[in-house]
Point group: C2
């Protein structure tokens, strides 16, 4: 049928697939075989089904009524009118009259739907007890029959927050009652007047009538539905069998809310017929904003399924709506063309047809959405230990496969060579006019190649060193020098920190030192410590380090998915929440507002600049080796340290502003680097960046680095108009380097009063720190 189903087609898998289902909120009993197949034939891929039927409902209502009468008959004394000791009714188990749902060969393709008339959080303890019993009976039976997932109507609007915990507790138990199936909570994106709570619950059938319109038009609280969901899944400890189905609203809400739901475990997007508009030809359509919303969510690695709700089993709904809206029916040519096939292949359901149209209209996958890259989304990698471990050739090959990065390096090297010739060469000693370049940590030599190319393009005579501590890569470098570099390179097998320099007898210096030691957070793979160990060989004052400097950047994020992942990992690895993870962050929500003067979404934590200025005393010590320093050592800031690496410790305190309420699971970390900063005014810096708001401008399509993620163990909730105060440290005890981080939440209570509302634990990667 469609191109994307044909592997030969150019369309194949070039955009996300839609998986479309049908839900009828008034279906009186389980879906029959005949119904099921009719839905499949009209283009649906799955169907929902109630678990129990009207007979069961009537029986439960009767049970409740009888109990009320009995209660009345006891004529309780005033003192005990509210006596909870009175035993409430126990809902008897299901019989075959209560349900026609059962095992079948397609039961796994049916999505079971829990009875919408239960009220798990009713203030009437009888009703909430009956509701829990009904839910547990239904879930246990659905699990027995082979259901894979059950949708449960979400908690009702809960103005004073009293009820949601009862609801949450019932769901927590439901996950135990049905210990293998997925539970999906049906939520609105926000509680939109007119689209809310169509089903009457037991509480509403029996309780005092609440005049919902009496309070008049209220301000819509956009985040209240998300808030309820957050309470439920928090009580359920981010259980990985708990998902959310969100109702697409009539009007797509503000971006902040859309992105919030983007980060949540979306299993379904439900669309009722009400959210579609009929166009002049009588076809159902969605607005541009609604389409964008769906397109956005479809880009998730596990894209949500679409559930059409109350759209009927055929086009009756459309016919009725057309009649109401006085739309005269003119079939289009393509529809007319369908007519002959009608008897054999029933036409697509009109809403399905429209969604299939939208499916094809989606923008195709970009290069960054290639399946190989998508598989890395939100997947946690432990950071490298580049100093302690030797890398394998394949790892080098991955790093080398990023042309953007090496192009920027070559540009930086060429710029440095040009400027060096104007500034430094005239004052350097006449005996040595060749520019001395050293590539330290050369690996398999990609930067060596770039240095040679830069020298050629700028016509610079150079003397080139390649240093490498990995004895295996050293072999490769020697071979490269023979085969590719015409023996122009002096290859040395050495840790750069122990290198005696280009010509120790003459105390010769390096003019340009080139390294690629940067990690996702800039300094997290110990670039500062490595460069400290070699910088005594850099000529002063005109010696150049490429990179010249790098900065680390942070932004607080919500990432329920990674939090759930870590909650599992921590059972095997007690440091899971104390580890900075390298990960391609994707299904996340940046909780900080984007454009607040002085408090941008991405903020710089700190900077490292090379070569480092050192005091005369330190220079003396450096010349005479590190051991000389121990003669005058102190204690440093950390237990067990002697202060020798104290100058590479860092601390920052950043304030992020959050407009809407939310929850933070940790900090996303990024870096930027100035590879070369011209000394001459007016010339441009050569930079690379992985900051989301800078990468396209500074190093578009650079894929060498994913971001880093600093988790917090306990998700930190914050109210609207909050400020997150982030304290972060780069710590060192002279033998290793690690990070520490803590987030505090403040809120504005009135224009002048800032109140603290909570804080995370102090986190530390000391136990998994990077060894020097």
């Amino acid at each position: 049928m469609d191109g994307y189903l044909n592997p030969e087609s150019a369309d194949f898998e070039s955009r996300p697939r839609y998986y479309i289902g049908q839900h009828d909120s008034h279906r009186p009993d389980a879906v029959t075989d005949e119904q099921y197949h009719r839905f499949l034939n009209s283009g649906f891929q799955f169907v929902t089904t109630p678990i129990t039927n009207q007979h069961f409902y009537d029986r439960v209502v009767e049970l409740y009524k009888t109990h009320l009468k009995e209660r009345e008959a006891w004529g309780l004394s005033d003192a005990h009118k509210t006596n909870q000791s009175l035993p409430g009714p126990v809902v008897p188990t299901l019989t075959n009259k209560d349900t026609s749902y059962g095992p079948s060969n397609y039961v796994g393709s049916l999505v079971a739907y829990a009875s919408p008339w239960i009220d798990l959080s009713s203030e009437d303890t009888l009703i909430s007890s009956i509701s829990r019993q009904v839910l547990n009976l239904e879930l246990a039976y659905a699990a027995f029959c082979g259901a894979r997932s059950v949708i449960i109507p979400g908690p009702r609007q809960d103005e004073n927050g009293r009820a949601v915990m009862q609801y949450a507790r019932a769901i927590q138990e439901a996950l135990d009652v049905a210990s293998r199936i997925n539970i999906i909570i049906q939520m609105p994106m926000f509680r939109e007047p007119g689209l809310e709570e169509v089903d009457l619950t037991l509480s509403e059938v029996f309780g005092p009538t609440k005049d919902k319109t009496a309070s008049g038009p209220q301000e819509i609280d956009l985040f209240s539905a998300w808030d309820s969901w957050n309470s439920v899944r928090s009580v359920c400890k981010y259980n990985n069998r708990l998902f959310v189905a969100i109702r697409i609203p009539l009007r797509a809400p503000e971006k902040d809310l859309q992105e919030r739901w983007f980060s949540e475990p979306l299993h379904y997007l439900t669309l009722s017929s009400k959210v579609f508009q009929l166009n002049k030809a009588g076809h159902p359509t969605l607005s541009r904003n609604q389409q964008d919303l769906i397109n956005r969510y479809m880009r998730l690695k596990n894209s949500p399924w679409l559930l059409l709700s109350d759209v009927g089993s055929d086009d009756t709904d459309i016919t009725t709506r057309k009649a109401e809206e006085n739309i005269v029916d003119f079939p289009t040519l393509s529809e007319a063309a369908n007519v002959p096939k009608r008897s054999q292949f029933p036409p697509l359901h009109p809403y399905v047809a429209y969604l299939k149209h939208l499916e094809k209209k989606q923008p195709p996958f970009t290069a960054m959405e290639a399946p190989a890259l998508v598989s890395f989304q939100d997947w946690l990698q432990s950071p490298l230990q580049p100093l302690a471990d030797n890398l394998e050739s394949a790892t080098y090959e991955v790093f080398e496969g990023d042309p953007v990065k090496y192009n920027q390096y070559e540009l930086a090297i060429a710029e440095a060579m040009k400027e060096w010739k104007t500034l430094a060469k005239p004052v350097s000693s006449a005996n040595n006019t060749n520019l001395v370049v050293a590539v330290a940590g050369a690996g398999r030599g990609p930067l060596v190649t770039r240095v040679l190319r830069a020298a050629a393009s700028t016509g610079t005579a150079i003397q080139l060193w390649a240093l490498e501590k990995n004895q295996n890569a050293y072999v490769y470098l020697l071979r490269q020098n023979e085969l590719q570099w015409n023996g122009q390179v002096t290859v040395a097998k050495t840790d750069m920190r122990g290198w005696p320099g280009p010509d120790p007898s003459r105390n010769a210096k390096v003019d340009i030192l080139v390294t690629e030691l940067l990690g996702s957070f800039g300094d997290n793979e110990l670039s500062p410590e490595c460069l400290d160990g070699i910088q005594r060989h850099v000529a002063r004052p005109y010696g150049i380090s490429i990179p010249e400097s790098y900065t680390a950047h942070l932004s607080p994020i919500a990432t329920p998915r990674i939090h759930a992942d870590l909650s599992g990992k921590v059972l095997l690895d007690k440091n899971a929440f104390e580890t900075p993870w390298v990960t391609r962050l994707f299904q996340i929500d940046f909780v900080a507002a984007e454009k607040v003067p002085g408090h941008p979404r991405f903020q710089q934590a700190w900077e490292f600049v090379h070569p480092v200025e050192v005091s005369e005393a330190d220079r003396f010590l450096a010349e005479h080796g590190a051991s000389a320093r121990y003669a005058t050592q102190g204690t440093g800031s950390m237990a067990g340290s002697s202060g020798t690496n104290e100058h590479n410790a860092r601390h920052c305190h950043l304030t992020f502003v959050c407009r809407t309420r939310g929850v933070v699971h940790g900090l996303a970390g990024y870096f930027e680097s100035v590879l070369y900063r011209p000394r001459e005014a007016g010339r441009e810096k050569v930079e690379i960046s992985i900051l989301p708001d800078q990468i396209d401008r500074k190093s578009r399509d650079m894929i060498s680095w994913f971001p880093i993620f600093f988790p917090i163990k306990q998700p930190l909730y914050f109210p609207q108009d909050a400020e997150l105060e982030v304290s972060m440290w780069r710590q060192t005890d002279d033998t290793k380097v690690w990070y520490e981080w803590i987030i505090e939440a403040y809120a504005w209570a009135g224009p002048k009063t800032r109140i603290k509302v909570g804080a995370s634990d102090m986190h530390s990667s000391r136990e998994v720190g990077c060894r020097m």
Copy 2:
């Protein structure tokens, strides 16, 4: 000297002891032998000493200045003015010129005092780095010398909350650097203008001068000092070597703040000479409020030590102050009497003399403060498993030792007998005019004795049963019946739930059922389930259960001490934070405001009433045994249950109001019980209660029950004007009973906007639940 030092004296240990020390904030070097002994002779019991001296200070200042000059000399470019890469100075280790402090035979009696001029949270990274190094050098050296504790000046006022985390992190490390000594943070009770920050730190010496008075008179934020302390100890994870020393203020602050500090690990109360007033005779005195404050703190199990600060080594300070205040010196008779001893025993330091006077003026220990009871303060006991385990005789003996409880029971039984005779006897069958009483769970028989006494006092003819499941206690009961009760009692060895009743063949009933199955939280030892199992034998409608009803009550509390204790316990017992602990709560702070209409400090969670009304269907089932019920069982609310105990499940949602900001560590639980509720109007209920605000009125001096404590794992911080929403459940799956609890914090941001600010985890004692 004083009576309390003499074990023969009546005063001996009848009131808390004062332990008085001396601190001089301007002492230029370590205390010498001669000074130390002079202090002891003038009445002090310990002395503080600086660790380093002026020489060290000068050296550090010089180091800092030299570094600044060097920095200037580098003439950094604008781009890198803030370059943190510049290595800061490493403070060299101490030499013998830097300190005269050292090991001595009294070093353990000296309290080391860290240099007050460091600023651990300076925004100048050089100063904060130097400060951390200085602190670590001093601590490491003090630990080497044998110091047991070091006092560190607390964090400075921190208006925007940016600095305290740096301070906290340094203290966390300090606990590692000095891994065996106690660290005491010196804090004011609140930041009182005029008494603050007397010492200049490095930052103030070198930083831009802040005009402290420019901002004019500010509103005092009473809780900001406590808030800083809370941040520090939270980062240090409630380390049990971390204490606080609080400065007694000029004016005792409001009760809320006093009680907050009462709950903290107070090690010292420091009193500077400024907080004393001179009376007309020139003697230093404290106000009534200050005295009350000290008296209150001295009642702690580990009462704090008193540290007199800057009061001089003799009476010079008094002389100066007298001169300033024009007070003419008239020695009192007792002072005149001291004169002859002057040469041999130096007179007490005037401030010490006054404190010793206050010490003697303290109210003596009450009965409830007897050493045996004090040792139970905040000590955690696991709740009993009375159904699953058999108690030992000694345990019964403890329970029996509370006359208050049994007196109330006897009163209730007598009242019930009297009323039964007017109401029930006239309508009961003529054949059986004896009142049938059953004591179920009779133990060693204290209630049997009380029933017999009540029958005698009311002239009631009774037929008395004693039921006991513990075969060992059964032997004791038989013996008692022979020796004490003249064989008036029918003793049966049976679980009350399996008892066939007083005369199964005639289907005879019990008129008064007496039990003592209550736990600290009322229903936590399964009284409801036990009574369910026997109530079918209670006559209707006039049968009586004593107790007639009981209620459970809650209040959120701060209890850092128990939290710290549990943080240790949890390493060995993963359920430590999921266990309701029975404990004599003492060093706690009730965080809820006392008198808020509708939201009192202590709120009722739920109630149980006996006998329970049951439906006809249930009555039939009960008569025919529990097994009949399984024929129609459901699922109940809990996984694995069939709903048979569903009526003993409970849920409550309570709202507590907190005026001041604070932290909550869990819920204190209590119970009240109506032993007998007269059916006739106008007669008084017979009650017992362990509620702090009710016990004195309802059952004064009753010691049978300590409160229960429901902990939360993560302390929950809340801002001022907060509301704590407590959800609690009594859950059951027909095989056991357990509790679940969660606390959510809301705050008022403006008069109409209530915002959620955080929540605890959902806690559950399911794994340690009470087996039925």
